[in-house]
Amino acid sequence: MSGFVAALAGFDRMTVARLRALLDHFDPETAYAVAAGNCVADGPVGELLGRHADLAAAWRSSAAVRDPQRCAEQCRHLGVEVVAATDEAYPMVLRSDPWHPAALFVRGDLAGLQRRRVAIVGTRNASQRGREHAARFAVELTEEAVTIVSGLARGIDAAAHRGALAVAGAQPVAIVGNGLDRPYPRVNSALWAEVAERGAVVSEWPPGTPPDAFRFPLRNRIIAALAEVVIVVESRDRGGSLITAREAAQRDVAVFAVPGGIDQPASEGTNALLRDGAAPATETLDILLALGLDGRRAANRRYDPRPQLHGRAQRIADRCAQGPCTLEMIAEEVDRPLGETALLVARLERDGWVRETAGWFETLVGWDSTPT
């Protein structure tokens, strides 16, 4: 059965709505026969095919290359499970969504969706602080047995998944925009594999689907539909994470945004969300309260192993916390010669308080899971 769904989902010019129309009206085998043109259909599918003669032709040629048995074999080989909307295994929370996918391709175990669910999303070109905040929220929420849902993109998404995986027993769920045969982006291959092993990587497209740009906004609606709360950590003025936020708002899912400096390009989108009524996410407790979980005890457990700062070191860390600083800006702040300033900064860097990127220093919040 799953082979027919997998084959259908990969048809040329197949859309979310068309696949839904097919599978809502027919069982998979009949749906395949209808799409392949071996069987005359009535109802909405018949109308659709009648309206677009070229669509019927495109599907017929797709059927010639997409053999159900081979598609099923491919999924089995990749360890990908095909879950149709009618199946028992299909997530309940998603089934009630008006725009739910007709089928999901899953690597791993969707058990994490039984727990409370928070989506953490944001820009791919994130700042160091943005990534850290994403990781911090992910760690603290996972510790409260909340499942982190994100998109496995670079930047914030990857940081959120990494943060979640840092906690034992985590079952994070990643919704991706391409087929599960090939990790995308490639740099996240290892992360992709680990999420699949401990939680689940999910796509609504069959293996072999390329990461086309239009699939990512579609993917974002699934993230919004699965989450009870969406946290946007950093976003530019027209970022894809704003699409997730909009989809979430349409579904009455609470949207939180992490406030950022008004002069930080990476926070333009999140600040716009706050202006438009999103709730500010300043600490994990905000989220836990929105979920109705009392997290106060957990929040107090936080432990920072780094040595405490005093005097000039404290001033440098504070200055860098306001925004990236160059060495001369720091020297001006503490009013010391360059050499002495460089030594202070080198010690802060060693102790994990600041990090340098191409001559710019940023303060670390203490949740840096970046391998150095």
Partner: protein, 509 residues
């Protein structure tokens, strides 16, 4: 009749003495040049005939053979014209051979009989040794730099022949050009703010370290680099002569005094070809930018935009201080000891503070990789440069002037020469422990950096050399005796080694 006249040609930056033998023998009219002449030399026949005609001199009516000695070397350049003309006239019996004894001739002939300037007069005259030379009047000053005998000039062939026939004395040499006031418009006081970059420049000047500026467009990288030659001391006598020969061979205008005494500054564009940068263009193997920068500064703006294979050609001159150009039939070795200064953006979009760059990690990495690791390794200093803040630009107080920084640089260089006989940049790794000792706090810092994987073995040695220079400058600045290297020095040296190709957007790199 037979004649033999001395002249010279230039290959690379060195002159080669040539003898022109001419025989005008009986037989059918004919004109042959032997002794491996290349195109320019073969064309001399037509230039010579035109000049003879314009000067009312008879063209030989019988079989004429010119032999260029030594016969095995390829001859190139129009500088041989004058000697060929004189040789023909002697062999044909129109000039007394005694008149050219102890004389050598350098110059190109025009169809109107005029004697024209050629490239490389200084190295050619140097190669001729203790003889009197006849050169075009425009080349008098250039010839005098290297001449061991008298330098005679002539404006055209009739004038020269009148002298050789004893009809008139040698013309007076042209008056020396008015000495221009040395007015360098590039002063460090134009650079506002930029304390880290200015300090990096000072360290580079004091220790002879190669320097890479990394920063967004408009940060002032080019402006800073152009001010490095002003911080360097004048060339030593040897260097000065070598640089002058190279400039002469490449046809670069020489300064008013004749010799190149100030460190040259060369800034080739990033589309420069291999021959332009390394040398070896034209059959006479013109000196490239690496040689023109000998004793001074070679500045490569937009380093990542240069063709990678062209850049890799810099490795030999950086290593040896000379460049060898080897072709099938000709080779030349030219001095090319320069200080390399380069500038590049951190990423294709130009970069800026973290969070403003839109480049993907792949783009950043590809950009950084255009500069090969071995070349990047040669830069002791990789200084981050940020755009100056508005208050630095608008604040009217000028930065410290070149003169006062140069004074510190001079003293710091003297310190290192006195201590170890070389600049810090070329201090051998084994002598570091002797001359660049570090204190305990600095050792801890170095230990931390190495164990965190941020510093390699080779980087460690480079870092210690830079720290040595910083310590020298510190003692010059505070007027204290030179001590060992302290943690501050090492920390600053570390800050001047910004990594390239790192990411601001993820774990990818």
């Amino acid at each position: 009749m037979y004649s033999s006249v001395s002249t010279a040609m230039v290959v690379g930056s060195a002159g080669h003495a040539i003898t022109v033998e001419v025989q005008v023998a009986s037989g059918l009219p004919g004109f042959h040049i032997v002794g491996r002449p290349n195109g320019v030399v073969r064309e001399a026949r037509d230039r010579l005939r035109g000049a003879f005609y314009s000067s009312d001199e008879p063209w030989p009516k019988t079989n004429t053979t010119l032999n260029l000695v030594p016969a095995t070397e390829i001859k190139t350049g129009s500088a041989l014209d004058l000697a060929m003309a004189v040789g023909i006239l002697i062999a044909d019996g129109h000039v007394d051979p005694a008149a050219v004894r102890g004389l050598a001739f350098i110059g190109e002939l025009g169809l109107d009989g005029s004697i024209r300037h050629v490239l490389g007069v200084a190295p050619m005259v140097a190669a001729l040794g203790p003889v009197d030379v006849v050169v075009p009047s425009g080349s008098h000053r250039e010839a005098q730099i290297a001449a061991q005998g008298e330098v005679r000039t002539a404006d055209d062939l009739p004038q020269l022949l009148a002298v050789l026939r004893g009809l008139r004395p040698w013309p007076d040499p042209p008056p020396p050009p008015p000495t221009q006031l040395h007015d360098d418009l590039r002063d460090l006081q134009d650079v506002h703010g930029q304390h880290v970059a200015r300090h990096g420049l000072e360290i580079a000047a004091a220790g002879g370290h190669h320097l890479l500026f990394v920063g967004p467009p408009g940060a002032g990288k080019t402006m800073l680099a152009a001010r490095l030659p002003g911080l360097l001391p004048p060339l030593t006598d040897d260097r000065s002569l070598e640089a002058t020969m190279i400039h002469s061979a490449a046809g670069m205008p020489l300064p008013a005094g004749g010799l190149v005494t100030q460190p040259p500054y060369r800034a080739p564009h990033h589309t420069a070809s291999r021959a332009a940068l390394i040398g070896g263009g034209s059959p006479s193997l013109w000196p490239g930018e690496v040689s023109l920068a000998h004793g001074g500064v070679l500045f490569l703006d937009e380093l990542a935009e240069f063709t990678p294979s062209v850049l890799d050609g810099l490795r030999q001159p950086l290593e040896l201080g000379t460049i060898s150009i080897d072709r099938a039939a000709v080779r030349a070795t030219m001095p090319s000891a320069f200080q390399l200064v380069a500038a590049m953006n951190p990423c294709p979009c130009g970069g800026g503070p973290p969070g403003t760059c839109m480049c993907s990690d792949g783009e950043r990495l590809r950009y950084a990789r255009r500069v090969s690791g071995p070349l990047l390794d040669r830069f002791d200093l990789r200084v981050p440069v940020a755009r100056p803040g508005a208050h630095d630009l608008l604040d009217g107080t000028p930065g410290e002037s070149t003169a006062s920084v140069a004074a510190r640089v001079r003293r710091a260089r003297a310190l290192s020469i006195e201590r170890q006989g070389t600049l810090n940049a070329v201090l051998g790794a084994r002598r570091l422990d002797e001359h660049a000792q570090v204190d305990e706090a600095a050792k801890t810092l170095l230990y931390d950096e190495i164990s965190a994987g941020r510093l390699s073995g080779r980087g460690y040695h480079r870092l210690r050399r830079v720290a040595r220079t910083i310590a020298d400058l510190r003692s010059v600045h505070s007027d204290e005796p030179v001590g060992i290297v302290v943690a501050d020095d090492v920390a600053l040296a570390l800050a001047m080694r910004t990594p390239l190709g790192t990411s601001s957007s993820g774990w990818a790199v």
